[in-house]
């Protein structure tokens, strides 16, 4: 082994660079230009990367570590359903026993964290219209069979759902199967008609025996224009919301149901 001699070391390093330069000069011109371009591009990319990639990227995984803190810092919107029990124990109790026991309070009442902190300032809304409930109960082919579904357009229209179903303890109300048990078609058309809330018995006096021996005991049927006019004549009193006609001049030569099917009346 030779002794270490700084002079020979230097000259051999110098020789290395000289050879490198000669090599480089012998490269075709194209390669030189492309190498320079490549070096510039690589340098630009590496600089951009160090500047753009957040310093804490990859600390825990393929994401920014501080993203976790940012998410933690976001305001909490939902309170969960347990805290409601503290003040609304009555509601919670009813709900716990009913069909909606697994439906969270905030699904219907919206995010409630703010409400639990200041009950006076932040009032929650209750879905009292007909829009809320069908989000879950509207008929959809993809909902599991057996899940209670309705077609809201024909399921007791106009009236709000909570008029018949208790939101916190919904039960399917007893069906008034009385007339519809046998006159289903009529009942169904009437249910979506303007006469939906006019009871069958308002127009037909049906003896109880009719249900046992329908052919022998026939209910009454309205017998003339006067009957309908009882609600619809413009002289009729206390009938707000009912469309009015003048019985004396409105198509006076015919009975009303020659033109208006009584179970699905339309005005055309």
């Amino acid at each position: 082994m030779n002794e270490f001699d700084p002079n020979t070391a230097l000259s051999s390093i110098g020789g290395f660079f000289r050879r490198l330069r000669e090599r480089w000069q012998r490269f075709p011109e194209q390669v030189k230009r492309l190498t320079v371009l490549l070096a510039v591009v690589v340098f630009a990319l590496v600089t951009a990367r160090t500047m753009l990639v957040p310093a804490d990227f990859g600390k825990y995984g393929h994401y920014r570590a501080s993203a976790v803190d940012e998410i933690v810092a976001q305001p909490i919107q939902y309170a969960g359903h347990e805290i409601c029990t503290e003040c609304h124990d009555d509601v919670a109790e009813t709900k716990a026993a009913g069909f909606h026991k697994n439906v969270g309070c905030e699904v219907c009442h919206g995010p409630a964290a703010a409400h639990t902190e200041d009950v006076e300032a932040v009032q929650l809304l209750a879905p009292r219209g007909r829009e809320g409930c069908p989000l879950c109960h509207e008929y959809l082919p993809s909902r599991p069979t057996g899940f209670p579904q309705i077609v809201s357009a024909s399921h007791n229209p106009v009236k709000p759902c909570i008029g018949c179903h208790e939101a916190h303890d919904p039960k399917p109300p007893e069906t008034p199967k009385e007339c519809s048990a046998c006159h289903a078609t009529i009942a169904r058309s009437k249910a979506i008609s303007h006469h939906a809330y006019v009871a069958c018995t308002r127009c037909h006096e049906a003896p109880d025996q009719h249900k046992l021996d329908p052919r022998s005991f026939r209910p009454s049927k309205p017998d003339g224009r006067e009957f309908c006019a009882g609600c619809h004549d413009d002289g009729a009193s206390g009938k707000e919301g009912i469309p009015q006609i003048d019985q004396a001049s409105h198509e006076e030569r015919y009975v009303c149901w020659q033109c208006h099917y009584p179970h699905l009346p339309e005005a055309q």
Binding site: E29, Q30, L34, L37, A48, L52, V53, H62, P141, S142
Partner: protein
């Protein structure tokens, strides 16, 4: 919420059978159809150029540079549909800076970048370098400057340098062919590797994608050649057209066989999905798959080209046939992409129901944007043709300057 319900309500009515709630709305729409279509054109056009170079097909020389520029124009547009679909183009750099090696989709960014930088731009640069230098010598003003920059201020036109250029082009082409296969095979791979979807999940997918890409690329170059040449007031080279048509024909035969193979394989395997797929093919995809893709896009052009090859006919009629066949092939390949992307999402993973897809006209995912993205490459191509004329007569010889 209200808006969403209004959008979904009419779709629900057209659902057949049982589908899961998250299957009503398709996640990959028209833009994702445009994307593999455009990438396919890139790969196809490039592979055509490579064939010309590697096998020295003299008839096809007039289309060599044209194919390269076509590939470049479409490659520049290829990522745009994805960026528009993902909705946050300004964040896309993160894909490159924080590479996620476990995501096939994320790694595609690198395949794309490799193909653009290491293959296409390099080959074009070597191919045009001499002309760029010579053009710049005769020009002045902005054009001169542009050509100087494009040549990277290179000036060596010695015998040795030119020989090096040619060797480099050959070498890049050699790397380029597998890269082009990779580029489009990759798109097929992304679909083919989705285990949960029987319409996609198939090892043949990358290969089928690749060959349909070659078909569409050749047809595109044929179309561009047939449109650009008369526009420049030049005569079309019939030998070149015939050769292109032959290549198109062979590629289509392979593509067709692969698709049939895939079909037979599925029918013979007869997995549990076969019934819903049969319902899909004979129902919602009947027009786009059987009529457009198979009859109009494959069998009709195949028959037409075969006729043109076998029968004696005036060359004008031949040109007409080639042109119409190439157009039909484009429509056919586009519907191939449609049938893969949209078709794969039309049936429920429960295998017992079908949903529908409706495109909107406006909006980022709409028809208008997609049409814009399909037109954009032609605009770029126009600019490229102006800057880097690929025509024979634009080449300047050393002695002339």
């Amino acid at each position: 919420m209200e808006e969403l319900i209004q959008h979904l309500a009419p779709l629900v009515k057209e659902v057949v059978g049982y589908i899961y709630p998250n299957e009503i709305e398709l996640h990959w729409g028209l833009l994702v159809v445009v994307y593999p279509y455009v990438t396919g054109l890139v790969a196809g056009a490039f592979i055509l150029a490579s064939l010309v170079k590697i096998f020295n097909v003299t008839e096809l020389q007039p289309t060599y540079r044209m194919s390269l520029l076509t590939a470049l124009a479409f490659l520049l547009v290829a990522p745009l549909p994805l960026l528009a679909h993902l909705g946050h183009p300004e964040k896309s750099f993160a894909i490159f800076f924080t590479p996620n090696t476990r995501s096939a989709m994320a790694m595609f960014g690198f395949v794309y970048a490799w193909y653009l930088m290491a293959v296409l731009l390099l080959e074009i640069w070597f191919c045009y370098r001499k002309d760029l230098i010579l053009w710049a010598k005769q020009e002045r003003g902005l054009r001169k400057l542009l050509h100087r920059i494009m040549s990277l201020f290179s000036s060596d036109v010695s015998e040795r340098a030119l020989r090096f250029d040619q060797k480099a082009v050959k070498a890049v082409t050699l790397i380029g062919i597998p890269s082009a296969f990779l580029l489009h095979g990759y798109v097929g791979f992304i679909f083919g590797s989705i285990k949960a979807n029987p319409w996609w999940s198939s090892v043949l997918m990358p290969i089928v994608f690749l060959f349909s890409a070659i078909v569409s690329g050749i047809a595109l170059v044929l179309l561009i050649y047939m449109i650009a040449t008369p526009l420049r007031g030049k005569e079309m080279d019939m030998a070149c057209l015939n050769k292109l048509a032959s290549y198109l024909f062979y590629a289509m035969i392979i593509d067709f066989s692969l698709e049939i193979l895939d079909f037979i394989h599925r029918v013979y395997e007869s997995e549990e999905s076969i019934e819903i797929l049969a319902a899909l093919v004979t129902g919602k995809l009947f027009i786009s798959l059987i009529v457009v893709q198979l009859l109009l896009g494959m069998l009709l052009p195949l028959g037409a080209i075969a006729m043109a090859k076998m029968l004696q006919m005036p060359s004008d009629l031949k040109k007409m046939i080639y042109f119409v066949a190439a157009l039909l092939v484009q429509v056919g390949i586009f519907s191939t992409r449609w049938n893969v992307v949209v078709g794969g999402q039309l049936f429920s993973k429960s295998f017992s129901g079908l949903t529908v897809y409706k495109t909107t006209f406006l909006g980022l995912e709409g028809l208008l944007v997609s049409m814009g993205l399909l037109l954009l490459p032609f605009l770029i191509l126009y600019v490229l043709f102006a800057l880097l004329p690929p025509w024979e007569e634009s080449k300047v010889s050393l002695e002339g300057s």
